[in-house]
């Protein structure tokens, strides 16, 4: 398969992930929770990775998260102009996911581990992907 290096990668949804991507298009971070062990999980699949149960339900996550770890790429790749952060965030509900941290300078001085974040949605043509930005609350606290 060949890549289009000029635009950002867009996901190719599959049946078990469609709800996640449809939710993103609606501005909702849709993830799953196991009805048997009551644990939330990501990425989407039809069974719980913790206990194996197929009694799982979709729900809309709060969108609140914290910055678990990240790197800053100094190389521009398909649609991304360096420097740009690639981050693992921990959702309030527990699961972790990869994302970009946006609306903030892409420097170690600004990107502080464990800082509070909240979800944003980035449109890419027919697709929408969740990204994260510094939580508004922390600016309110800082201003207070």
């Amino acid at each position: 398969m060949s890549y289009d290096y000029t635009t950002k990668w867009v996901p190719k949804p599959t049946p078990e992930t469609q709800e996640f991507w449809d939710g993103a298009a609606r501005g909702e971070l849709r993830i799953q929770r196991c009805d048997d062990c009551d644990r939330a999980y990501f990425y989407p699949r039809p069974l719980c990775p913790h206990c194996g149960s197929e009694n799982t339900d979709w729900f809309t996550a709060s969108g609140r998260a914290t910055l678990y770890s990240y790197s800053i790429s100094m190389r521009s790749v398909y649609g991304y102009e360096a420097p740009y952060s690639i981050a693992i965030v921990t959702l309030e509900e527990g699961p972790r996911m990869l994302t970009n941290i946006v609306d903030i300078e892409q420097t170690p001085e600004h990107l502080i581990l464990d800082m509070p974040l909240e979800v944003r949605f980035e449109n890419r043509g027919d697709h929408t992907v969740p990204v994260f930005a510094p939580a508004a609350a922390q600016f309110e606290e800082a201003a207070a």
């Binding site: 990425y43 100094m74 190389r75 990869l98 170690p108």
Partner: protein
């Protein structure tokens, strides 16, 4: 476990070899390993190589080998450690008697080497590639900041990893990079992917290597050129194909599980180990590896390396060929880590360590995706 490595060789040259296709590197490595063992291709009845490119069937066919056992494990650069583990099991089970494992990769020149590609429907492609991750250079460093925050590892300590490995490489004529470097050199080298600088990232080279395994019993009947290297114990483990799903960013489950299995199978403790190879695609891997294998406590690897313990003359020689950071790294380095372990156990390494009876090889595949550990030893170690 009764398998032994009776042939081990690399391609004649490593580095920039645009005149070699991927397949030519496989075949030269195979030829050299057969010569190293004193065998011919008709002695081989098992074949292993990563699936794409240069799958084992293509290698066997090109060499004129008719295998009764085939392994195409393709889970990144640690695949060759898995193949040794699988070959040892297959030989013990009687599925074959003599296995050839080959690696060839035109990783730098891309001669006769298809472009790397992802399954576009995989979880990795759906949930990580959209964020500007194009390869391991971007994904592998991501966990490191968490490790640094939780353990206090400093950038200066991290920078000693390539410095120490360059000390080993400076003694190795085949190493790609041999000039000594300092911590300042590392920290002033170009930032590739924060927090990693150029000298903290592996080389990108062309090259190949091959191994031949048989049973210890059959080895006794062969007219071998070298003392067999015994496979004393093996182990395997994984984290996740998705870097975000690594259970703990500060420690590899695969490193922990595979090394514990291998040490247990070999019946050894850490004090029995004379020499260690840790797959070093990036400078933080030896740090994770030393801690996850239990050679040092959590958060201690940085100072352990900075204090010279893994350097020439140190108590625990690590990555004595110069590693992926200074020796060679075709893209799947595991084959070269095993080769150096074999050389040390035979007593023929360029930077030979005195009295190596037990050597441990820790392999990584992808970005903390898969791991394997081999405990290799001399005949004396096998009898101990």
């Amino acid at each position: 476990m009764s398998a032994v490595i009776i042939g081990a060789a690399e391609t004649d040259r490593l580095g920039k070899l645009p005149e070699y296709s991927n397949m030519m590197l496989h075949l030269e490595a195979a030829r050299n390993a057969l010569a190293d063992a004193g065998l011919t291709k008709d002695d081989i009845d098992g074949i292993a190589a990563v699936a794409v490119p240069g799958g084992p069937l293509e290698v066997a066919d090109a060499l004129g080998i008719n295998p009764s056992w085939v392994d195409s494990t393709s889970i990144g650069g640690t695949s060759f450690l898995y193949m040794v583990r699988h070959a040892a099991a297959a030989i013990a089970a009687g599925h074959c008697t003599t296995v050839l494992i080959t690696h060839g990769e035109s990783g730098r020149s891309f001669t006769g080497q298809p472009e790397w590609s992802y399954d576009p429907y995989s979880a990795l492609a759906q949930f990580e590639l959209p964020y500007g991750v194009i390869d391991n250079v971007q994904s592998f460093p991501i966990p490191l900041l968490r490790y640094m925050k939780e353990t206090g590892l400093t950038p200066e300590q991290l920078a000693t990893v390539p410095v120490v490995q360059r000390q080993w490489a400076s003694m190795n004529p085949r190493a790609y990079m041999k000039d000594p470097i300092t911590v300042d050199d590392v920290l002033s080298s170009r930032m590739i992917n924060y927090p990693l600088h150029l000298f903290e990232c592996c080389l990108v080279t062309d090259g190949g290597g091959a191994l031949i395994l048989t049973s210890a019993e059959r080895a006794k009947d062969l007219d071998l050129k070298h003392t067999p290297v015994h496979v004393l114990g093996t182990g395997a483990g994984v984290d996740s194909p998705l870097i975000s799903q690594m259970p703990d960013a500060t420690s590899s489950r695969g490193f922990r599980q595979s090394s514990a299995q291998a040490f247990r199978a070999a019946g050894i403790t850490h004090s029995d180990v004379d020499h260690v190879m840790i797959y070093d695609a990036f400078a933080h891997l030896p740090i994770y590896g030393l801690e996850d294998m239990g050679f040092v406590g959590r958060g201690e690897a940085g100072s352990f390396i900075a204090d010279g313990n893994t350097a020439p003359g140190g108590s625990l020689p690590v990555n004595t060929n110069g590693g992926g950071l200074s020796y060679t790294h075709t893209g799947m380095y595991g084959m070269f880590a095993i080769q150096e372990s074999v050389r040390q156990l035979r007593g023929e390494a360029a930077a030979q360590v005195d009295g190596v009876d037990v050597s441990v090889v820790l392999g990584n595949g992808g970005s903390f995706m898969s791991a394997a550990t081999l405990v290799l030893g001399t005949p004396d170690a096998a009898e101990a």
